[in-house]
Symmetry: C2
Subunit: 442 residues, 2 copies
């Protein structure tokens, strides 16, 4: 069978990935605190046979934008996934859990409980927390990068060891004989390092997939490569251009190989923001509605990206021939080349910004086939093993993806017609693992 | 209206409070990992109009008894309650969360998320963890009692401050005006002490009850009294005798008064283990089936309690007149007087143990009216404001309590006929609170 792509869906604040989502017609403005809303969104993604949900997290300082915009995250990713686990049957669920500000015993226990609860559909996005604003919620300064990644290695190893602290068939629960478990096959782990330690065991037998799948989201720094290369089955990527994505994917595959693994065991999954509408004009208008509050600030930033003066009062006009002639893409921001390309196409300033030239992930704004084309292009160029998709507004943007884009990908043979297995490990083609991976060098 | 009792139900490992529960006829032996089973048990308690579920927790070392007995705890109390919150509508839910091995920001966030998810039905049993075996799961030695309680005070204050970090009407979510929240009414807390600190704010608006209710379970040590007296709306008590319960209740009420509170604001809720059967003989036989594996060890302990030699081979015989004449209740164990009283009634050694003379909580083994009588006696003697009930086996023991005991208490006017309110605060009669309680001295 030809290689097929993996698709995950961003599950965030209940509204959608764009700041204006909460105000859109038909959107329940209380979705931020509605677990029902999250469950319905997860069910829609499952209808589309998507392999997983991705819940980012990271308690940074609350922005003053709260006046106009919803926070980006879930109230609590694990509580959301507990609700979703009970409301879905097949879709995988991946939550971010910081290795910097959680105890490994607590992480191991809660993710394994989710894995049991979902019958083997849990994934842990093991990240390090950066930023003094996050650290301040824990009353500390952020540790150095070396210490954060040093701790991360220890935490992942301890968590995986705890996950494997019951042998696969230790749980007998034989009412006739009266043997509940094989006590000789449940062992402490007694694992510790410079930063953290734990004795174990956990109280939890294996799940249907053994134990949760490890993900990593953390750019392609040397530290992130080493961590993901060693432990991660999938990387939640951030790459704005296809070239960057291809380079990152290759780097993560190399890192896996250096850790003694088959590079096919690590999937590189960059993000994609979608605004789906019957045509380009309607899609741009929709993005304008959803993001225009930020346009004055973004126009100022675009000025830096292109190195020319831009008047934020002239939102309805294209850049002038003089401006375009003088513009030079900033080498400091890889999005600048794309911004200039769009500007040269003659779009108004408002439309240039609506194209998503200053978003964190690539934006496709257009009809479903354009989204499918983008995904196929990146996928076939080996820039991605799949995508995590952030719909602009869940209410209709998610359905438009599931009912519009997914069938095209399926028709082209790029996406599975249905789930073949039951667990997240099945969906990803991630090899069986239980406890610390014995194939990986110590 | 006359004072009525509060009843909570112990929700543990999915089987019941007694070690043999998992082997009983009709019990699903996989209930330990079944969230469906927990939800059904919660629904049964809700059918009985019980005010709350109580989920103890504390990851101590796994006992070698795992060979024959299920662990006592839930896989993860918060994941269990997330499932229960989605499967029930009125019953309160109280989980133990250690102040010793959790960060206040993480505790605050997850309990508040549960409070939102359950529409104001969450309670936090704020305890300190004791025992080097628990500490070993976190790679440390257990701190001194002074340090543990010192940290507990800081953690509770920070958690409560974080809970109140949005003003009550800060969340506007007005789609027409575009105001999501009043940013001026969401403030950092910047609270810290010797052990922990946090900047805040949380990302979470108030729940239907404002914020979760604080419980405390921790004996009646001076430290526990000071902590509970200051913060707790209810105490999960452990008292084997009515005299002890009356003394503890008075001590907690005094402690609340010393902290500047109305003593009626702290409810003392001791435990009660039930084995319900048509008559005493059937109830004792049921307890024998459920606990007899421990009888040899318990007979040895009974020997110490009574100060006479006891032959564990003679389980079917009463103590001899010589043994009874020589027996003296040990002053080291308050249960000894009761044990001697039962022994003097002429029960066999097996039946003496089956009476629960060495259990941690008072045991009532008999028909429903006996359970109701016990509860009424303690309640009217001001030894309790209510009870947390641990049925021996959830499968039938819980239904027997709900369908057998509850109607008797209702008939006697001792228990409400239905929930009057929607929130846990309503069910307990706990005063409204948001943020740190301003009535309590700093």
């Amino acid at each position: 069978m030809a290689r097929q792509m993996i698709i995950g869906m961003h599950l965030g604040n209940g509204y959608g990935a764009l700041p204006g989502a909460w105000r859109m017609p038909g959107v329940d403005p209380t979705s931020y605190t509605s677990f029902d809303a999250k469950v319905r969104q997860a069910q829609a993604a499952e209808r589309g046979k998507l392999q997983f949900l991705f819940l980012p997290d990271g308690p940074s300082a609350l922005s003053a934008e709260i006046e106009y915009e919803a926070p980006g995250f879930n109230l609590d990713v694990m509580m959301t996934l507990a609700a979703v686990a009970r409301g879905t049957e097949r879709i995988g669920m991946v939550a971010t859990g910081s290795t910097t500000f959680n105890e490994p015993f607590n992480l191991a226990r809660q993710f394994k409980a989710l894995d049991i609860m979902s019958h083997g559909r849990a994934g842990w996005n093991a990240i390090t927390s950066a930023g003094d604003d996050v650290a301040a919620n824990y009353g500390v300064r952020i540790p150095s990068s070396a210490d954060r990644y040093g701790r991360a290695h220890e935490v992942v190893q301890i968590v995986q060891a705890l996950w494997g602290s019951w042998s696969k068939d230790a749980w007998v629960h034989d009412q006739a004989s009266g043997q509940f478990a094989k006590s000789a096959e449940i062992a402490p782990i007694n694992l510790g390092g410079k930063f953290v330690a734990s004795r174990g065991p956990l109280y939890i037998p294996p799940s249907e997939q053994g134990q949760p799948v490890v993900f990593h989201a953390g750019g392609a720094s040397a530290n992130a490569l080493a961590l993901a290369g060693r432990y991660a089955s999938a990387v939640i990527g951030a790459a704005f251009t296809i070239e960057d994505a291809r380079a990152q994917r290759a780097a993560f595959r190399d890192a896996a190989e250096r850790a003694g693994r088959d590079p096919d065991e690590i999937k590189f999954i960059p993000g994609l923001m979608t605004t789906i509408a019957p045509d380009k004009r309607a899609a741009l208008d929709r993005r304008i509605t959803l993001t225009e509050r930020a346009f004055p600030q973004r126009a100022a930033y675009l000025q830096q990206m292109l190195g020319v003066r831009i008047d934020p009062a002239r939102m309805g006009e294209p850049l002038s021939p003089d401006q375009l002639a003088a513009a030079r893409p900033s080498s400091g921001d890889p999005r600048s080349t794309y911004a200039l390309k769009i500007a040269r196409e003659g779009w108004t300033l408002r439309d240039i910004l609506a194209h998503g030239v200053i978003d964190y992930q690539p934006v496709v704004a257009g009809p479903p086939v354009e989204v499918a084309d983008h995904m196929q292009h990146w996928f076939e160029a080996e820039a991605a093993d799949g995508f995590w998709v952030a719909p602009d507004v869940y209410r209709d943007g998610l359905d438009d993806f599931v009912d519009g884009v997914v069938p095209i990908l399926q028709q082209r043979g790029l996406f599975h017609l249905d789930y073949a297995g039951m667990t997240l490990r099945d969906h990803l083609g991630a090899p069986a693992q239980y406890g610390i991976d014995p194939r990986i060098m110590p």
